[in-house]
């Protein structure tokens, strides 16, 4: 047989009281031994469902209603649970997304490895232990005999994912399904894990299915790719061909929407294939409207001026000062942002960028240093009237759209709250009128007013957050990874919206992200952060074309370059 896995005409549906959801429709894909197939699509496309359907781990009430899954020539979709258990682990291994929850926190990793090896191979006794150590070495864990006895929480995220990979390979499977294996990891760790998967699969001639929403990952390690939209496969083919010459409209717009690190466009190309394209809402004429009333005339002060900022967190409490252990989250940070400028803070997780944002807004107390907003020092003088007024001028858009809105309030109340509290409108009906206008302006429409947040998608919720921020008529907008939790297509819309607002209202923007291509598109100047300190501050063009600091160079190297896919093909 030449095909390791053949999925033929698969249909998966989820029946429920409200009607049936067809998660996967007539999907046919195949994988050869030694080949890496990527399945790419946005949330809700059905890609994880396919992975689950192959090993028959669909979450009830999901069922395969049509089609079959042929593994090494045999139809495994009709096997019962007992027979399926022989296949899982031994023939097909699975790697899940979140390494923290896929490992049992109460067992040492050694115990979990021993358990898996005993179940999936015929080894006994000392041979099992030897195999476990072999596996740990193969996935790159140093001092495996010592780490064998460690618990999952004693590892970092990347190391945990390596352990998960070791578990998946324990039974010597022929096929490995990796469901978003690197989504929860940092960019540099991501690179290492993908490299590991690529090397192991070449060595052991495994077939791999990589399920992801990130086209960069696909460009990195996949040989062939299947693009999914709304439950069906819209296009398949070799990675090089799909990325350079996509045929289907959705693939084209999806690739175009991914922010590119090499050139700066004025606006992101938005993916209009989805949901029948954009609906146009009424736009506000900013000069006439309440929203534009507070647009500041030029002032000589810098919008944000930070000097010698320091913040420490106590990670080990003790009664006596000398026994406490501190984590320096922000170390002597100084930078300034001009009015109307777009300033980026980029760094990996733990670099301190979100902490700086919270210090500026006043959510955390400053240990040492000063923060001046339009000349007014706002560090730690919480009760001062002038400080309170200055801090109202700074509003924040948060990262997680699912927890940044009060689930028990209607959208109109959420947005109207600052207007009502500060009585900036002359009457309640005017306040609601303003809310309606704001909702139109951010692209949601005033029909959203009476609804609750849970009725909206992630991107729509971010629009509500933006409208809420605008209702305070701020001069400075801090965006803390506003699109990290969103799909690429939605990201383009939200980022375009932010840019439009910045132009209209002459907002100053502090944009925080770990995603360098997005920073390139959104910001004029950038500061690169690492472990709480600033490595480099430069204009975006200078940073991307000629970085100074070692770390900046390292980060730039990690941007998956889709243009280099062609070169990889030639080399390998």
């Amino acid at each position: 047989m030449n095909e390791l896995l053949e999925i033929v005409g698969l249909d998966v549906s989820f029946p429920s009281q409200r009607g049936t959801t067809y998660a996967v429709r007539d999907v046919s894909i195949n994988v050869k031994p030694g080949e890496v197939l990527g399945v790419v699509g946005e949330s809700g496309a059905g890609k994880s469902t396919i992975g689950n359907a192959v090993i028959n781990l669909l979450e009830p009430p999901g069922k395969i209603t049509n089609g079959k899954v042929l593994f090494q020539g045999e139809n495994i979709s009709s096997l019962d649970d007992k027979e399926m258990r022989n296949i899982r682990g031994q023939k097909i291994g699975m790697i899940f997304q979140d390494p923290l929850t896929s490992l049992n926190p109460l067992m040492t990793i050694g115990a979990q490895l021993l358990e898996t090896i005993t179940k999936t191979t015929k080894l006994v006794g000392d041979a099992v232990f030897k195999k476990a150590i072999e596996l740990l070495e193969a996935v790159g864990i140093e001092q495996p005999e010592v780490r064998f006895f460690a618990y999952p929480h004693e590892f970092s995220g990347g190391m945990r994912q390596r352990v998960v990979i070791a578990l998946a390979l324990a039974g010597d499977p022929d096929l490995v399904i990796a469901d978003e294996p690197t989504t929860a990891l940092d960019v540099s760790i991501q690179e290492q894990i993908l490299e590991l998967i690529r090397v192991l699969c070449r060595e052991r001639k495994l077939g791999v299915i990589i399920i992801t929403h990130d086209i960069g990952v696909i460009a990195n390690i996949a040989d062939r790719v299947a693009v999914m939209y709304d439950g069906s496969v819209v296009e398949t083919g070799k990675v090089h061909q799909i990325l350079t010459a996509p045929k289907h409209q959705y693939t084209k717009s999806l690739i175009a929407a991914v922010p590119r690190g090499d050139i700066k466009f004025k606006r992101f190309k938005s993916v209009d294939y989805i949901e029948g394209g954009k609906q146009s809402y009424k736009s506000i004429d900013v000069d006439q409207h309440w929203l534009g009333e507070k647009v500041r005339k030029n002032s000589t002060d810098k919008a944000i001026f930070i000097e010698g900022l320091n913040k420490e967190f106590v990670i080990k409490k003790a009664v006596f000062e000398r026994n406490r252990v501190y984590l320096k989250a922000v170390k002597d940070v100084s930078f300034s942002v001009e009015e109307g400028e777009s300033f980026g803070l980029v760094g990996e997780s733990g670099s301190g960028k979100s902490t700086i944002a919270r210090l500026i807004v006043g959510l955390s107390k400053v240990d040492r240093g000063s923060i001046k907003i339009f000349g007014q020092d706002v560090a730690n003088k919480r009760k001062d009237q002038k400080v309170i007024a200055a801090q109202r001028d700074v509003q924040m858009i948060f990262q997680d759209p699912y927890s940044s809105l009060n689930a028990r309030m209607r959208v109109q109340d959420i947005i109207a709250e600052p207007i009502r509290y500060y009585q900036t409108a002359s009457s309640d009906s005017e306040a609601l009128q303003i809310v309606g206008d704001l909702l139109d302006h951010v692209g949601l429409g005033s029909t959203a007013m009476l609804k609750y947040p849970h009725e909206f998608s992630g991107g729509q919720r971010q629009r509500i957050s933006i409208a809420r921020a605008l209702a305070s008529r701020p001069k400075i907008l801090i965006c803390d990874e506003p699109t990290s939790a969103l799909d690429v297509s939605v990201q383009a819309h939200i980022l375009n919206l932010l840019k439009d607002l910045q132009d209209e209202l002459r907002l100053t923007m502090l944009f925080i992200s770990h995603d360098l291509p997005v920073i390139r598109q959104m910001c004029d100047r950038v500061a690169v952060m690492r472990h709480g300190a600033i490595c480099e501050i430069a204009t975006t063009d200078n940073l991307f074309d000629a970085p100074n600091h070692e770390y900046s160079k390292h980060l730039l190297n990690l941007i998956p370059r889709m243009e280099s896919v062609g070169k990889k093909e030639l080399i390998s």
Binding site: S16, L363, R408, P418
Partner: protein
């Protein structure tokens, strides 16, 4: 699907009641308990209209009716379905009125303890740090004392009376509510919508009452139901021991206590029927609380 957020409170309540009712159709125990509870609450509310006699109207009660067996006829012609006690009072009527007292005491104390508990729990969760530690230590101390003991001591100091019983029950119960609210509120406290409210410049009290409170009270619905059942049984214990409600406003506990003397002489019904009623009330409230918890659990799929 389960909770339609956004509908008005009244329709939410009726919708909820019907939902609870029909959700229990498949479970006969639960169905019976919901029906039973409706009857009990109905009895308690409409007591003067339902009870065959008024057992505390001294002009009607006659000692000649004393210790009649269930089903026998009283002096003025009404049938004592559950017999009469030593003084000639119809046990059925006494139960109906007694239910009323028991439920009033239990529900009032639950509501007051709930309010105090919410207040303290929210303050502890919002401010955190030393305030949280201090308040929660008080809660811990309160919870480490056995409930009956505390209530007994309090009532010994305060004396008899329905209001004093309510005070004692509040003192015993508030800590459980405080702890539960503080746990739920601490989770919500760190979510981004609270931080956003802070960014908007809202005052602390507005954030606590308008944003933190509505999102922290869902575990309380079940807790309040179960605590109500618990306080009915505590109150019954106290009355049985003689320190609870006064003789003029008996509750189920004191009825049981009254009848205790008669068990050995054969007039079992004076203790037995109030006892069964107490059991039925507490059990059905507990089952109901359980069902509500299952229904409100978002993982409860069709």
């Amino acid at each position: 699907m389960i909770e339609k957020e956004g509908t008005s409170d009244k329709s939410l309540l009726t919708f909820f009641y019907l939902k609870v009712l029909f959700a229990n159709l498949s479970n006969p125990m639960a169905f019976i308990s919901v029906i039973l509870l409706t009857l009990i609450v109905g009895c308690a509310i409409f007591a003067p209209f339902i009870a065959p006699t008024d057992p505390y109207d001294l002009s009607v009660v006659s000692i000649l009716d004393g210790r009649l067996a269930p089903g026998e006829e009283m002096f003025d012609g009404t049938i004592a379905w559950m017999g009469t006690d030593g003084a000639g009072r119809d046990v059925l009527s006494a139960i109906i009125y007694g239910l009323r007292t028991s439920l009033i005491v239990a529900i009032s104390s639950a509501l007051i303890a709930l309010s105090i508990g919410i207040f303290i729990g929210l303050i502890a969760a919002f401010y955190g740090g030393k305030v949280d530690s201090f308040l929660m230590r008080i809660v811990d101390i309160q919870l480490s004392f056995p409930a009956i003991l505390v209530a007994l001591v309090l009532l010994a100091l305060l004396g008899k009376g329905v209001d004093k019983v309510i005070i004692a029950l509040v003192v015993v119960q508030w800590a459980v509510y405080a702890r539960t609210v503080r746990a739920a509120a601490t989770v919500e406290r760190h979510k981004e919508y609270i931080e956003a409210a802070s960014c908007l410049g809202l005052s602390n009290s507005r954030i606590i009452w308008k944003h933190l409170l509505p999102n922290s009270i869902s575990p309380l619905i079940v807790l309040a139901t179960l605590q109500t059942a618990h306080s009915i049984s505590i109150e019954a214990t106290l009355s049985f021991l003689g320190v609870g409600v006064p003789i003029t406003e008996p509750s189920l506990g004191s009825l049981i206590s009254n009848g205790f003397d008669f068990i050995l002489s054969g007039a079992y019904w004076i203790t037995f029927f109030p006892g069964v009623m107490l059991l039925a009330t507490v059990a059905s409230i507990n089952i109901l609380g359980d069902q509500i918890r299952t229904i409100l659990n978002p993982r409860f799929t069709e």
